[in-house]
Symmetry: D2
Subunit: 381 residues, 4 copies
């Protein structure tokens, strides 16, 4: 079909479908970022932002992407040549390693098969006396595998190791239960374009007291990313440089929406949608990249398929739906279905219907029972 009507189905794991309320919010006129109206807005916003991170502490907002927030986490807490422990859970974990190297850190990189999360039982053996930080991707967007942060925290505690715990929650925050404070995370990294239902352009770091203390002695050069001037300015509702005003308007609205739905309801919705999706994939007779049932992502499902790219392209062309491409070493081997953010049962049904029809049009030998199986999950009450 060369022509399209209706809403595009944007089912890539970020940017996700932005609610029309949020799009209208970001189209309000920009105002004076040094005036009293903006100061009041900012103070309210920064307070409203904390529950979604599960923190009572500060959340630093950058006019930047999630990648920028990663960089912020590193340069604010570490010094040149510091030793950092990373785990090869997938593409984004690999990118993080590369970033840390570029910034002059020494990386201990635990190899992985891109089908499992970080193994908490092996944490102790990878830690070294001088490990300064442990970096974990909570929800690997490239594989659909979620690492179990509370168990990782427990492993660090049992080892009695003082390393900082830095967690990338880019594709989980706002969609799954997340507790920065309770889980003893030192820096949580997030971005606007996933569960926060915004366009890209904002990066976040939630910061523990321990991380703030580390900040004082951290030797990596920094200016733009430096927490202290931002936290100082935030006290009075301002920023040390011009903030991304209109995206902040949208953030206020998306936080209001999450609060209205209720975070536990939001989490349960994502859990149900992930379950329905996996049920469909199993019914089709296809494989899922995540190999451990304790580690399925609630926000994205990676489906193993040699014809992945062909199927994605056909589905985009015929059904106007964008699916996630295989990244890094999974290029051409998986496609990813996003079920995340501003989403509901009927949109998921449409999504899975598109996948099922696309698989069949491509000649992939599947059992066309996937959608029906998913509807059994979605339609149960």
């Amino acid at each position: 079909m060369a022509t399209h009507s209706g809403r595009h189905f944007l089912q890539i794991p970020g940017p996700t479908n932005v609610p029309d309320q949020v799009l209208r919010a970001i189209s309000a006129p920009t105002i004076d970022h040094r005036g009293p109206e903006f100061a009041a807005f900012t103070l309210d916003l920064l307070t409203a932002l904390r529950p979604v991170f599960g923190t009572a502490g500060p959340v630093v907002v950058y006019p930047a992407s999630g990648t920028g927030a990663w960089e912020a986490a590193l340069v604010n807490t570490l010094s040149p040549e510091d030793r950092v422990l990373c785990f090869e859970t997938g593409h984004f974990a690999a990118l993080w390693r590369k970033m840390a190297e570029s910034l002059g850190l020494r990386i201990d990189f635990v190899p992985g098969d891109w089908r499992h999360g970080v193994d908490p039982t092996q944490m102790a053996e990878h830690l070294r006396p001088d490990t300064a930080a442990v970096c974990v991707v909570h929800n690997e967007t490239s594989t659909g595998v979620a690492s179990r942060i509370p168990e990782i925290r427990q492993a660090l505690d049992q080892a009695g190791h003082p390393a900082l715990l830095l967690v990338d929650a880019v594709s989980s925050l706002g969609s799954v239960d997340f507790r920065h404070d309770e889980w003893g995370i030192d820096v949580t990294i997030a971005a606007s374009q996933k569960g926060l239902m915004l366009p890209p352009g904002l990066g976040f770091t939630a910061v523990s007291a321990k991380a703030l203390a580390a900040n004082r002695s951290a030797g990596l050069p920094r200016s733009f990313w430096d927490w202290q001037p931002i936290l100082d300015a935030n006290e009075g509702g301002s920023f040390p440089y011009t903030p991304a005003t209109n995206l902040l308007y949208g953030l206020r609205e998306s936080l209001r929406m999450l609060d209205e739905e209720g975070l536990p309801n939001v989490w349960e919705r994502h859990r149900r949608h992930a379950l329905a999706t996996r049920t469909a994939v199993h019914a089709w007779g296809l494989g899922i990249q995540c190999a451990d049932d304790r580690e399925h992502s609630a926000t994205v499902t990676a489906v193993v398929l040699p014809e992945a790219d062909k199927v994605r392209e056909l589905i985009l062309r015929e059904f106007d739906m964008s699916l996630g491409v295989g990244l890094g070493r999974l290029a051409g081997q998986v496609f990813r279905i996003e079920h995340l953010g501003h989403f509901n049962d009927l949109s998921l049904a449409g999504t899975l219907s598109g996948v099922q029809m696309g698989l069949r049009l491509c000649g992939v030998p599947i059992d066309p029972a996937g959608v029906a199986a998913a509807l059994e999950v979605l339609g149960g009450r």
Copy 2:
């Protein structure tokens, strides 16, 4: 489910889902309706409007609903006590009769069972020598039954009867093949909130030369609806009273979208979606209100079900989808599924999934094979 996320599924047969492009277009600043910029805009708009009506003649645009356009059709062409032939094809036909009576016309009302369109073979017997106009609803929104206008025209021609042919195309225009000129229609009535993909607020009458001639002697009092001052003003790109500027902006955009998709593609899309919907209904084992296979509406399907209202309410509550209510004598006996306007295969799959899940949750004994059957239709190429 008390809370909702994602896009509402608005599957009532009008207002339909308005494209975001159109919503943005109507949010442009209002301009001087007597200035040169608006005049150029209007001349272009009125030209661009003609193809969707299948006419080379004028289309009169009212800042009004479709009901207003009906009234315009009558008061512009008829005189008090004129005899008008109407057919009881459904709720809107019945409303039309009532309107004509209120305006002082004499109505010959051919009874019907709300399951068939106008029968062209019986036209001759209903016409009287002094029948001034024949009123037909092209696509009965309340029943999902479409009357066959070309055959009706043929019947009038064969009878050699000079009555005007007034056609309500409110829920068909822009979605199904429609040919005001070729089919010899004298007044086509339309509205903005269906196939034209706009919010409600604009009514239309396409006008034949014969209707314009009738206008000169028509004796019903009129001022706001009077064609002549509008047509005179339109010549120079203006209106005799303030037009609904922002909805006109949206109309320009929706006409562009229809043109980009291509009207024949638009029609074929609606045909496929209606077929897929009926396939699902049959697979569920439920009945369809339309009793003649030649007369299925391409834009709305009325499903016969005693529990219709209960199902609709559950679906709204649980799946955030609005379905059409039974109207008039069908109240509580049918629900209506809209597949019309800004719509696509995956949204239809989501829609039918919601209906299927809702039926089951309500305990209606259906075969849950409807969605799968519809996907066979949609997924064929």
Copy 3:
């Protein structure tokens, strides 16, 4: 200047500058006009609408222009051949007369010079025993002259005459003190695109108990405009035909804005702006169309000038500002400056600056002291 930047100055007396909040409100997705969400919205809206009319009674909202609301006022209260008293206060009064004639009423038309409002002292002599209605334009948009409704009411009362009082408040409502109930008005006619700060497309009639009683026996044919089915449907938060949903969204927002500013503050703002405008005109040495100091419009000022059209065109071209054209018998003899709706001191200063520069560029021999004089008014506290 062939090119333009910045905001267009739309200083015609309607449509007025629509606030960006209202434009965003009307770009929200259209919803089911028969669903529970819309019903709740409508009930709230209809209640919120009353204070701006100064009424505790019903206000009927049409998907139509103000001209439509005029027609509604007449067909709902009068019968063919009824005698109606009209006053030639300007262009819109003349249009009203023409409309009433088209609808089959008999008009007593009191000639006027387009420089004065209705003279209450002469009311008694124009009333006839069978006068069914007295029609008055509260604020003549074409001349900038406001008639004194309370004194007109008093004159009717003193004459003990039972005629209905129909008042066109199209360009005053929401901008000047207006009291439908207290002033004993039977039908107040209004439209969306003036003081209500909306795009065109909504017409209003506020209706007294006496008008509702008249409605029961009024013999003019009507259907679309008929109050009774609308009032019946409004009871439950619905409409008898599809309402202009998105404009209603905008109306809710504009009512909120008027309430936030406070109606007395809104009225005072318009009074100050009209005074500053007249001060500028006097300082330029030009004449004002309104000849009675008790009757200056608070929303529009008509400036007498033989070169009016040349000046308007130059100002549009050079300064990107639209001014009101001379209408009817004032064509080419006045231009009109709007100071109405979503407006403030600095925008008025910009407006008057544009007029002053335009007059000079056209070679009109003025004293360029107008803006400075207006600033003395605006800058006083």
Copy 4:
């Protein structure tokens, strides 16, 4: 006045008034940043971006503020302990110095009086053999003083010095004649929220071949800001991390608007507005911070006034206009009037009217002849 109506006058030198077209553009749905539609969009955008920089080379777009773009310029071209020559022309020059120090560079800081630009005649004496880069703020937003880049270039050439020339064009780009290539600039730093008429959130660096060569050996650690991966990805229309999609939509629209007006017309408009503003300030009898007539900013005028803050606050409260605050050592000593971006003659007249009324209401002894004097400039043709 406690209440406000009409448009806020945002006359701070950034963020500037965002055109409604741009606000609508940024409210379009976010799309797949890895899909074919986005790739085509990006390639077109990056090409359209070059003329406003006056370059045929690459412009790197960051999802960041202008401060981020500064950091990018430094870390991409310099190594730890590199010597950088900076000039104290105002607040932003001072901030730049501080940033360079934080990043580990050695700064030669030429003191200044915040009333002059960089003196080209003294360039030679400040250059040292090992000066790696010369940093100049083209248009000091805090003082309204513009440095003469071509003469600075000439001074470097005459000295035969190989230092890189890094130019902050944040508040001049898109508003005044700027020629990255012709003026031999190595890195031009810009941001979205000034002459590009966008909300904040995008930073830019235009990069010369010499800067790209320096990039290969530059030793400062970098990852997020690194040019090379961005330039590589841009070749195919993508980005190495998620770009700020919706702000890019707005950028495409603002570039279209600048192109439609014509860059030379845009520059001339800013020149006229700056002249009219200075004319008003002189007529009031007040002083201007810029002390050299060759160096007046075309985009912002800083007015010297001991009561600056009191006047600004009163103007915000009474006239709903935001003016620029005094920054750094000018805190409380100047207020700044922005005449920049999406702006026109009448908006400037409104702006100056607000300043004049505010000065008088505050009791500042001025001659109220400023607005009239400015109108003489604006009204001349």
